[in-house]
């Protein structure tokens, strides 16, 4: 039993959970700077969460047990997903619990329950959010799988750990198919995390809501758990995109210096990706809902092209 490995794995999970609000705060802060606004301090999301945790829960009389269980389930599934991503080190024992297909399955499971919770009360908004969410995810989920399959076929493994390790240890090589996969994964990440141009996390304008419409009836600690889970999901996507395509800096051995370097590079990479996201959100406008399938099918087609390009051109 690899005790230090397990401790590190738990530490990584805890770190990701704790850092997740900071990434959201950072993105919001950078976005505000782009828009010439003063903006809240980057650690504002912690205050918001603390406030929500303190508040009383008001629940609709019509709510079923499923509605009450969903925040806990969504949160715990997202936490488990965060434990299998290689964030600052490879070779952690939790990484083999599940491979990348299982991780996509985790997100799908969380979404499944979130949609059901949205439909539970029988309000128009909940159903609307659920319907839109499943529509969008029915395009993003396959696109995400395909872009990851391109990598999986190249590295002959679907374990995230093995993929990162392979890039780190093999001589550097540019695969054209990775560019397609990376582009597709970026689009998917934007859509899955409910960012502009697919969804706008900052608004409760009823006609455009997707994610917010599903969780409209939640309050207090339940809302806090759901908000935290969605921040964590965004962080996981950030880590995934960074470490699959730019894994350099990730610790190969579980030593203090290597881990410190890993942590530092992870922080820089995440700040960078947050900056890019904030910049893109500042220059793009939210899309009309019925235009989004076009963008998402583009993501799917790009991913498929990447995969076909890989099997036809890059396999010998």
């Amino acid at each position: 039993m690899n005790v230090s490995g397990w401790i590190l794995a738990l530490g990584q999970t805890a770190l990701l959970i704790l850092l997740a609000p900071l990434l959201s705060g950072w993105i919001k802060w950078v976005k505000c700077k782009f828009q010439n606004r003063r903006g809240p301090i980057p650690w504002q999301p912690y205050r918001d969460l603390a406030k929500l945790f303190r508040k009383e829960v008001v629940m609709a009389q019509q709510a079923s047990p499923l509605f009450r269980a969903t925040p806990y389930l969504v949160f715990s599934v997202t936490v488990l997903a965060s434990s299998i991503v290689p964030a600052f080190a490879v070779g952690l024992p939790t990484a083999v619990i599940a491979d990348v297909i299982v991780m996509v399955g985790f997100f799908a499971l969380a979404r499944f329950f979130l949609c059901l919770a949205g439909m539970d009360l029988g309000t128009a908004f909940g159903g609307m959010g659920a319907s839109r969410e499943v529509t969008i995810s029915s395009l993003t989920e396959p696109a995400m799988l395909l872009s990851i399959f391109t990598l999986a076929m190249t590295f002959t493994s679907t374990n995230l750990d093995a993929m990162v390790l392979h890039t780190l240890t093999q001589p550097f090589q540019i695969y054209p198919s990775f560019i397609f996969a990376g582009m597709s994964l970026l689009l998917v990440g934007v859509a899955e995390c409910g960012r502009i141009p697919i969804d706008n996390p900052a608004t409760h304008l009823e006609l455009t809501m997707i994610h917010e419409a599903m969780i409209l009836e939640y309050s207090g600690r339940h809302l806090a758990l759901l908000e935290w889970a969605s921040m964590l999901k965004m962080l996981i996507f950030g880590v995934l995109i960074c470490n699959l395509f730019l894994p350099w800096g990730t610790a190969l051995h579980l030593e203090p210096t290597a881990i410190a370097v890993g942590l530092l590079t992870l922080g820089i990479k995440l700040m960078g990706i947050g900056f890019v996201l904030a910049a893109s959100e500042s220059v793009l406008a939210k899309m009309r809902l019925f235009r989004t399938p076009e963008l998402l099918s583009l993501a799917f087609i790009i991913a498929l092209l990447g995969m076909l390009g890989h099997v036809i051109l890059e396999v010998h």
């Binding site: 019509q62 079923s64 319907s131 499943v134 995810s137 029915s138 399938p293």
Partner: protein, 668 residues
Amino acid sequence: MYLHLAHFGVFLALLAAAVSLPVRSISTGARMAFTLLGLSGLATATSGCMGMLTGCSLNLVLPIGLPWLNSHQHLDPLAGFFLLIVGGVTAIISLFGPSYVIGSVSNLAAARTLAFFTGLFVAGMYLVILAADAFSFMVAWELMSVASYFLVAHDHHKKENVDAAFIYLLMAQVGGLFILLGYGVLAGFGSGFTFTDMQAATLPVHWQHIAFALAFIGFGMKAGIVPLHVWLPQAHPVAPSHISALMSGVMLKVAVYGFIRFCYGLLGTFHWQWGVIILLVGCASALLGILYALMQQDLKRLLAYSSVENIGIIYMGLGLSVLFASNGNPVLAALGLVAALYHCINHALFKSLLFLGAGALINQSGQHDLNRMGGLMRLMPITAMCFLVGCISISALPPFNGFVSEWLTFQTALQGTVLDSGVTKSIIAVAAASLALTGALAAACFVKVFGIAFLGQARHQDTLQAHEVSFGMRASQILLASGCLLLGIFPSAAINSMQTIPTDLLGIGLSQVESGGWLWLTPISARASSYGAPLVLFGISIAWAGAYLLLHPRRRKTPVRYSPRWDCGFGSLSTRNQYTATSFSQPIRRIFRPIWPIDERVDPPSTAEDGGRYSVHVGDWAWEKLYLPLGRMIQRSAKMVTKIQGGNIRTYLAYSFFTLIVMLWIVI
């Protein structure tokens, strides 16, 4: 010994059919018949399980059948596996049956027919699997088809039921004919009708292709691959729910068994073209099946289309397996086969569960239409929980069983790079893409089903009268749901015990499945991919418990306050404010518009008070573009043939005379 046990099961099933005829009350008849059926299921499941685990092949020649061809019976790992599925599901459904029949059938004669043909149908399925010669196989196959025809036509006072049953019978017979011809080709080159003789036959390549095509169409018609699926969405909604569960959960698997037996057991050679055809047809079935399921409002029709989808996923696994086998990668071929077989047992479990749940719903609410259900979770909590498990499993979400088989299929597809040809590699990539799309759409579809039927508020008065079903009906659903969970949590143990099947058929098993320990499922190697299903469940529980305990002090301090729903300040919400099944799938209908023939109408309001009407009807292209023109063509040609029949005796004499001359010319 185990083979005798299986025959004892067949005997019990026939006995169940026989005892139902003389009884005088519906409830005694149903209880007796279903007890015997349950016992027969247990007996065959045990024998099948032992047959699969021991891995050896038992043979027996029964002194019945034709004078020159006694009935050959066998029990090898493949037959054992499918016997386990048929027997196990039958045993569980027997718990559900009595109260369902008592609750829904009011006429003694109808109850007798139902029980009689159920017994025959189940016995037919057992015998198909046990048969080891083409003659016994075809007799059992026809017994299964014809008995199930009477079950579909059970409620024969309604015209649509009779029509559905007729289409089912027609397609079953045409399919049977194809299978018969397929066996004919093999028997023609071999020395007899037994499977061992057919195996020994050496066929020229083009005859191999012909035999494959015949079997593919014949078994595909029963299994319901696109475009041969049209009988499924018609027959399932009209059959009683436990029969739909048997037909969809089990009978489709018997067709898959027949196909696997024919390809892997009897033909024995593999061509890459076959793999491509199976794979592409599987992709089409999976995608179109789930897209059509998404648009349905009738719950059982939706489940029927989703069976088409799942058969497609099974065929994808088989197609990959055949492709790898033809390329000389037996280990990967074994992996594809195991993925397909695992999906067979998973689909048998969750689709039976969903059909039983649908039966309970329809029984209680009196509604078939999702748009008239709603809020049933509060009225039927146990059924709702079990149905939820079924929905999660069929949507391929971890940690349930449907996910494992899709994961295995993905793993097989990702090994496609070892193939030699670029074309087949690209086809595999496209197949992986369509499987990914199918999985996501399936989740969308079953969010809709569960959300509309069980959550929200009741959309129709009748739904409010529903209450939880009887003990037997609950018990069978709970058993199936726990089966889904167990096969999802302990996949490596289950797959390890299935090793005998690929070892028997392909000569090689999956040696690496438990190479990382029993906790991890590692189909190819520990490096390539691993899935620790028990750890996933454990991890989710730990995280859940952590979050719950951390919040516990807060929960004590501020308990949940209940209040009305948020109505945006406009006053009370009515049940008509909710999304319906139709509006829920509207965005997807808009994206994939050309896939369905859609008849969408908006009638403008006639008076100022009238709000106008909107109606949408989604058809099936296969039916409108393939079967209806075919039917019209047959009718036209029949009309043309009637011209021969002029009613003039001289013409008839002339026909006889010319026929005689032609005959003489042929003979001499």
